[in-house]
Amino acid sequence: MIAFLVTAGAAFLMYLILTAGSGTIGFWSLSELVMGVLLAILTGLIARNFLCRSKSFRLLDPRRLLLLLVYVPGPFFVELTKANLDVAYRVITMKIRPGIVRVHSGLKTDLGIFMLANSITLTPGTLSVGIDEETNDLFIHNINIGEGDEKREVIESTELFGLVNLPAWIRRIAE
C-alpha cells in the first residue's frame, strides 16, 4: 500500500511539473489535473514493485530529501566542475596514467552504492567499471593514478575526492 502511494505520488508530481503553465488553477487546467490523477493511479498499480523493490522508505524522510536537494547543486556540483577542468587539462596535455583500482566504499545499501557509483563517474578522473556485490567494493577506472597507488590492494573512497567528502554526504542521505 505504501509502495503504491509513493509511486502514484511521484508520478503525479512529475505530471504536474511537466504540465505546469497549462491553465488557471494554480498553474494547471482542470482537464490536466483529472488526467494526471488517473494516470498516476495507473502508474502506481503497474510500477509499484519496480520503484520500491527494496521495501525501504528511508528517502521519504524530509530531512534526507532536503539533504539530497542541497547535495546536488552544492558539493556534487563543486566536484563536477573540478572534474571537468581536470579532463580539459588531460585532453590538452595528454598526461594520463590509467588503471583500474579497487575502492572500498564503506556503504551497505543498494541506494548508497548507486549514488556513490554515479557520483564517482562524474567526478575527477574516475569512472566506475564494476561492483563486487559481496563486499560492496567498487572497481574504478582512474585516468591518473597517483605514484605508488597501483601497489595498494584497496583505496578508501574518501581519497578520490579532493575538496568535499562526498561519501559522508551520501551516507547521511541514503543510509
Partner: protein, 119 residues
C-alpha cells in the same frame, strides 16, 4: 546588451567549450575507458550549461511578459538537464562494464584489479 543576455551568452559559451573539449578528448584518447572519461564528464557539464542558458532565458521572458509558455520551457529544460546528468553516468557505467566483461583491456594501464578479482 542587458545583464541577463550577458549571463545567457556566458552559459552558452561555457557549454559549447566543454562539449568541444569532450569531442576532442573522444578523438585523442587511446582506448575506450579513457574516451568514456571525456564523453561523460565534459558533455554532461557542457549540456548542463547550455540548458542553464535556456532556463535563464525562459525565466526572464516569463517574468517580463508573464506568458506561461516560457515557464514551461524553463521547467522542461531543467528536467532534460537532470535526466541527462543521471542517464549519462548510468550508461557510462553500463558501457564500461560491458566492455570489460567482453575482454577489452584498458590500454597503457599500470594496474587492473578487476581482472585479478575475476568477477
Amino acid at each position: 546588451m542587458t545583464a541577463v543576455e550577458i549571463l545567457i551568452y556566458a552559459c552558452l559559451a561555457i557549454g559549447v567549450v566543454f562539449n568541444t573539449l569532450g569531442v576532442i578528448g573522444l578523438l585523442r584518447f587511446p582506448d575506450l575507458y579513457t574516451r568514456m572519461h571525456a564523453t561523460t564528464k565534459a558533455t554532461t557539464f557542457g549540456s548542463i550549461f547550455t540548458s542553464l542558458a535556456v532556463i535563464v532565458f525562459g525565466l526572464s521572458m516569463f517574468f517580463s511578459q508573464n506568458d506561461s509558455q516560457y515557464l514551461t520551457l524553463a521547467i522542461h529544460a531543467f528536467l532534460a538537464a537532470a535526466c541527462l546528468a543521471f542517464t549519462n553516468a548510468v550508461s557510462a557505467h553500463a558501457i564500461a562494464r560491458a566492455a570489460h566483461r567482453s575482454g577489452i583491456k584498458p590500454m597503457l594501464a599500470v594496474v587492473d584489479r578487476l581482472e585479478e578479482a575475476k568477477l
